[in-house]
């Protein structure tokens, strides 16, 4: 009875179909548990959460320094949240080097130019609120927090123009917070 107290002994080991299902379900749980460590060592896409404490003002200063040293052009963002946010410097980090990307209401600053097949250390942080780094059309997503320098060691393997969309709610201009990565 599911609605009255049980007065007869109710402990029985599982048997028959139930035992079979328990075994299969447990096996499947082990498979899923092992997939993650396996992918961590053998797979190429992992989120290791490498991060360092950083004050927002310091992170902005590092980004400005990075842009000053590596600027290769200017990009007019046609879908910027407003006219003031339209102009983005394009910076190209050296292969194997560090790239800085600042998230703020409502823009990803600067635009980046990367080389396919090269590996970069991409530093992400926010100046004001939490933001979401969503690289489209690849659909790769990472969280960006103020106070945290989130480092992605990333290797672009496809060429073209990629758009960064913000996918963490950050106020009224959130939907129009975009950025660019060009891969050549």
């Amino acid at each position: 009875m599911s609605l009255r107290p049980l007065t007869t002994p109710w402990f029985h080991p599982p048997a028959g179909h139930e035992k079979l299902w328990l075994g299969l379900a447990l096996l499947w749980c082990f498979v899923m548990s092992l997939m993650m460590p396996y992918w961590h060592f053998r797979g190429k896409q992992n989120s290791t959460g490498e991060a360092y404490a950083v004050k927002p003002a310091d992170f902005l200063a590092r980004t400005e320094q990075f842009v000053a040293a590596n600027r290769v052009g200017t990009f007019k963002n046609p879908v910027a949240a407003n006219a003031m946010l339209q102009e983005l410097p394009i910076a190209e980090p050296p292969p194997g080097g560090d790239a800085y990307l600042t998230a703020r209401m409502w823009q990803w600053w600067p635009a980046l130019r990367l080389r396919a097949g090269e590996t970069y250390r991409l530093h992400l942080s926010a100046l004001d609120l939490q933001h979401g780094f969503s690289l489209q059309p690849l659909n790769m997503n990472f969280q960006v927090l103020p106070g945290y320098d989130h480092v992605l060691t990333i290797t672009p393997t496809s060429k073209g123009e990629f758009t960064i969309v913000c996918n963490e709610f950050c106020g009224i201009g959130h939907h129009a917070m975009t950025g660019k990565i060009f891969v050549e």
Binding site: S2, E18, N46, G49, P137, N167
Partner: protein, 570 residues
């Protein structure tokens, strides 16, 4: 040892109680009053959240794009709070009050405590809704710092949480006194056991809520410095994710309850079902990590261990219930004589009974859609291609809405006749309602999930502003919109049926039985309990669960393949 009933037993003289004319079980009149109050207020919040849902669906349906940006985010905050917190918590308190009284033949521990709980929850709920609609809390349900809302927003949530904790205390006190005074003998039934698991998780959940909301409230008042945003995320999800596991426990208990009430089903193996509930209690806490899988500052080892809830033991628990609930139904049907073939018992189910269809749809939608997507999206690395896209709400709308809310709706088709003692009006409409709601929410989820796979983010007012989404993404947002409208119609039908019945439903007199929604009669020559020792009688269920496992594996590995196609990243 005395045999006289204690003062906490419904059988004691002078205890306000009645005997149910349908089930023959005792009903505590105090518990009945608070079941009514909490259920009615819950359904009012469900309607508010539902109206918000319609507005949101009609905004994300890009062709319609109804609301302006500020109202979209305001209504989105309102929708999350009303649905995930207010509707669910009020209804769950009602379920707790039922589960600790009638099945144990016990009376509710304290009327005063129940009033305090109800009063605090209602005050908090009204406070939060008011401050959101006043435009002072456009922060989403998660209110991630440094986003900041009006202090009343946090205070309201704290009041709701503490009020719920007081209700949970009343539940535990009732259990304790019933046991101490021997209101019943033996072990508590599975429904009470499941509700107890839900209550235990609720306590842990609400303590997380207090830990995160109190310093955020004092920060909003300007009294203390800002808490760290990463710390906030970690603790908040100890509230946010675990509270959904309260829903899972309550929902599974409702599955056991309704399959028993409608069909006479019982767990195939009580020990296994109870162990599964214990697994929820032990391991669900870790799932808070599912929201931090692409976060900075938490390492891969931490992410992987917590993602797996210690080797997926909480997932194992759901897979156990996913077997034992249909297995119990199959055994009950076969014992009634519906033995034809592997699935003859399925076709013979009383599909016109809205509580039955709601239960079956809830099991199927929760398992096949919600469970599979949830485990897959919550896999540490796969989360890279899912985090904060529409795939996430695509997942939780088929767990919390298609699973929990639909099961609770099914329960209402019995709660209202049995507790409010009124028969439903428009019974034909009631028979259609779970199908309409289930279909709507399934379409909504498909729309969200496919749009999310194309990179469309959640919580975004306008995808055209980003200039990169093509006709396919727009098509799936249209499916989301149509599903949302259908689900809203299903919800509205439910609310109107319930409210209409409370006012105009035919009264069921004392000792009289409710009108039968449809229960399968036992066929000639069948005998109850005949399959109690046949461990291979659940042929249909084992086939269904094997199909489920195959679907799970295909979806799971397809997502690893999709992940392997994106840029290498560490």
């Amino acid at each position: 040892m005395t045999t006289a009933p204690s003062s906490h037993s419904l059988a004691a003289p002078g205890v306000p109680g009645r005997v149910c004319g349908t089930t023959g079980l005792g009903v505590c009149l105090d518990a009945q009053r608070f079941i009514k109050l909490n259920a009615v207020v819950g359904i009012v919040f469900l309607l508010l959240g539902g109206i918000a849902a319609l507005l949101l669906a009609l905004t994300r349906w890009q062709t319609v794009h109804l609301l302006p940006a500020d109202w979209f985010y305001r209504i989105l905050t309102f929708h999350g709070i009303n649905m995930l917190i207010l509707w669910i918590l009020f209804f769950e308190v009602a379920i707790l009050y039922f589960a600790c009284t009638t099945p144990l033949n016990a009376r509710l521990f304290s009327r005063k405590v129940a009033w305090v709980s109800f009063g605090m929850m209602l005050t908090g709920g009204v406070m939060v809704d008011y401050i959101i609609l006043a435009g002072q809390a456009d922060v989403m349900m998660t209110s991630y710092l440094p986003l900041l809302a009006h202090p009343l927003f946090y205070l309201g949530i704290i009041l709701v949480a503490v009020g719920t904790l007081i209700g949970v205390f009343n539940f535990f006190a009732t259990l304790y006194v019933a046991k101490r005074d021997r209101a019943y003998t033996g072990s508590v039934p599975i429904v009470t056991f499941g509700a107890t698991a839900a209550a235990i998780i609720a306590v842990v959940t609400l303590l997380h809520g207090a830990i995160v909301m109190i310093p955020t409230f004092t920060y909003a008042m300007g009294w203390t410095p800002q808490p760290d945003p990463a710390w906030y995320r970690l603790i908040w999800w100890g509230l946010g994710h675990q509270s959904q596991q309260v829903n899972v426990c309550a929902m599974v208990s409702v599955w056991y309850l309704l399959s028993h009430v409608i069909l006479g089903a019982r767990p195939v193996n009580e020990a296994v079902c109870r162990t599964a509930f214990v697994l929820y209690i032990l391991f669900i806490n870790l799932a808070s990590a599912h929201h931090l899988l692409v976060d900075p500052g938490v390492g891969a080892t931490w992410k992987i261990w917590n993602t797996s809830y210690a080797m997926y033991l909480a997932v194992l628990a759901s897979m156990i219930h996913g077997f034992t609930v249909p297995a119990g139904i199959e055994i009950a049907m076969r014992e009634k004589g519906y033995v034809r073939g592997v699935f003859g018992w399925v076709t013979a189910l009383p599909w016109k009974n809205p509580a039955l269809s709601a239960t079956v749809l809830s099991v199927v939608i929760f398992g096949f859609l919600g469970g599979i997507t949830g485990v897959t999206l919550g896999t540490q690395q796969i989360n890279i291609i899912a985090h904060n896209t529409l795939r996430i709400p695509g997942h939780f709308h088929v767990t919390v809405v298609g699973g929990t809310s639909l099961a609770f709706m099914g329960l209402a088709y019995y709660v209202i006749p049995l507790i409010f003692q009124r028969d439903f009006i428009f019974r034909g409409l009631a028979r259609v309602q779970p199908w309409l709601f289930g279909l709507g929410i399934t379409l909504l989820s498909f729309g969200m999930s496919f749009a999310g796979s194309m990179g469309v983010s959640r919580r975004s007012w306008d995808i055209d502003a980003q200039g990169i989404y093509g006709p396919a993404a727009h098509l799936w947002l249209g499916v989301l919109g149509i599903g949302g409208v259908l689900a809203f119609l299903g919800l509205l039908t439910f609310v109107l049926l319930c409210v209409g019945t409370l006012f105009f439903g035919k009264k069921i007199g004392a000792g009289a039985a409710m009108s039968d929604w449809g229960t399968p009669p036992a066929l000639a020559g069948s005998s109850a309990g005949s399959l109690a020792h046949d461990h291979y009688a659940t042929k249909g269920t084992i086939v269904l669960t094997l199909i489920f496992l195959a679907c799970f594996a295909v979806y799971y590995f397809a997502n690893w393949k999709a992940l392997a196609d994106v840029w290498p990243v560490r």
